[in-house]
């Protein structure tokens, strides 16, 4: 009961803080929409082309905009000293980070999932394909937050951390991108997306179990 209370307070705190800084959340979403919309303008909007690039473009943009907000995951808590206090909360750090990552997903990942259908329409996707797109993002975006948290914990307190974070985290995002975009492409081409989706689900399961633990170890090293 006590543990649930503590975790609930942390989740409330992180979401409330994000809501008090709505401009950050909105900026990330705006980036997502604009980045996706630039492609048809640059490449041209022939329907066959749209079908071919749509899934990949939406997924790449989701990946980049989720990464944009990773920096904030720990850095503001680090700057004002609240991260120290979180380390002293009488509870395993792994659990605390799991909650922080979940809060990050609600603020930075879930809105992408909600916006994606509109962007899917832009690429002339059918209802079924949009459904697969949403499903792949629901499974994939939490994985982005989980993997990103390890990177964000490692670079904490470093100068020029933003670029380093991208270099560190983007290669790790590749499998998520391949199977995420792959699932939607398969569906657009009339092939079953089940295999790719199952693989992302498997990766997500692994991520939920191991990523908070890895991030906790990384955070303790960074804060020494």
């Amino acid at each position: 009961m006590k543990i649930a209370g503590i975790l609930q307070a942390l989740l409330w705190r992180d979401i409330k803080l994000a809501m008090r800084r709505q401009s950050d959340v909105v900026a990330t979403l705006f980036f997502f929409v604009v980045a996706v919309s630039l492609f048809p303008l640059g490449i041209g909007s022939a329907p066959s082309l749209m079908h071919a690039i749509g899934p990949g473009v939406i997924w790449v943009a989701a990946l980049l905009s989720s990464m944009l907000s990773l920096n904030r995951l720990f850095s503001s808590d680090y700057a004002d000293g609240t991260l120290e206090q979180l380390l002293l909360v009488p509870m395993p750090l792994t659990l605390i980070l799991a909650i922080k990552i979940f809060a990050h997903w609600i603020v930075a990942g879930l809105p992408l999932v909600i916006l994606a259908p509109i962007l899917g329409l832009q690429f002339d996707m059918g209802a079924k394909d949009i459904g697969i797109l949403v499903l792949s993002l629901i499974l994939g975006t939490p994985l982005l937050s989980l993997i990103g948290a390890i990177g964000a914990a490692l670079i904490l307190g470093m100068r020029g951390g933003g670029v380093l974070l991208a270099i560190l985290v983007l290669p790790l995002y590749i499998p998520v991108l391949i199977f995420g975009a792959g699932a939607v492409t398969a569906s657009v081409n009339g092939i079953s997306p089940e295999g790719a989706l199952s693989l992302i689900a498997a990766m997500l399961t692994l991520g939920v179990v191991f990523a908070p633990f890895a991030a906790a170890v990384a955070l303790r090293i960074s804060l020494e």
């Binding site: 503590i6 800084r21 009488p90």
Partner: protein
């Protein structure tokens, strides 16, 4: 009871302390002294479990704090250099969250009383970003009136406080020690409390 045994601490290449021993018993306050850069904050961070030492041990009731981290943290209040206040939350929200995160049952009446004591009652619904340095310090110290834990580790708690708040904190320290609490703090002036309870420890090789 807190014991520090044969502690060695380095920052980068420089040796801050070696074979450092200390013990803290119920009802005792240790005032750490030392010039800038002698490792007062480093020592407090090691004792609170935030940093690791090169060698040596910190024992809480004869158990290494590394092996019983959660049990130890639930007996401890650490207030560091930074006041650990979220600018975007209000004064009341800041206090509520810091208590809830430490598993303390929040009673809004007691919270308001504590804010009254530290002189922030009229500002309770303002965002913390409008507070002055001294008010921030008062807010982070407000937890000392609400959270009953035996061991306090305070890094420069008197910094930025005015004369009246200084006295208030000294009174609270006195109360804490009399009810067999323990405290270890750094400060540039000697806290004005009962000399029998006070132990001075000087750092610096």
């Amino acid at each position: 009871m807190l014991k520090v045994r044969a502690l060695e601490c380095r920052r980068g290449a420089s040796l801050l302390m070696s074979d450092f021993n200390m013990s803290l018993e119920a009802g005792q306050l240790i005032h750490l002294q030392g010039a800038n850069g002698t490792g007062k904050t480093s020592l407090l961070r090691i004792i609170s479990g935030l940093s690791t030492q090169e060698t040596g041990k910190v024992l809480w009731n004869d158990v290494d704090i590394r092996t019983a981290r959660e049990d130890y943290s639930s007996n401890l209040i650490y207030i560091g250099h930074q006041p650990a206040i979220k600018d975007d939350l209000t004064v009341l929200e800041n206090l509520t969250v810091s208590l809830k995160l430490n598993g303390v049952k929040v009673d809004i009446k007691r919270l308001e009383e504590a804010l009254e004591v530290v002189g922030l009652a009229r500002r309770k619904n303002l965002p913390a970003r409008v507070l002055s340095q001294g008010q921030r310090r008062r807010l982070s110290l407000a937890r000392l009136w609400l959270d009953q834990r035996p061991l306090w580790i305070l890094d420069e708690p008197f910094n930025a406080l005015d004369v009246q708040a200084n006295k208030l904190l000294e009174e609270r320290l006195d109360q804490h020690l009399v009810s067999s609490g323990m405290c270890i703090l750094t400060s540039h002036h000697t806290p004005n409390i009962d000399k029998k309870l006070l132990t001075e420890v000087s750092l610096g090789l």
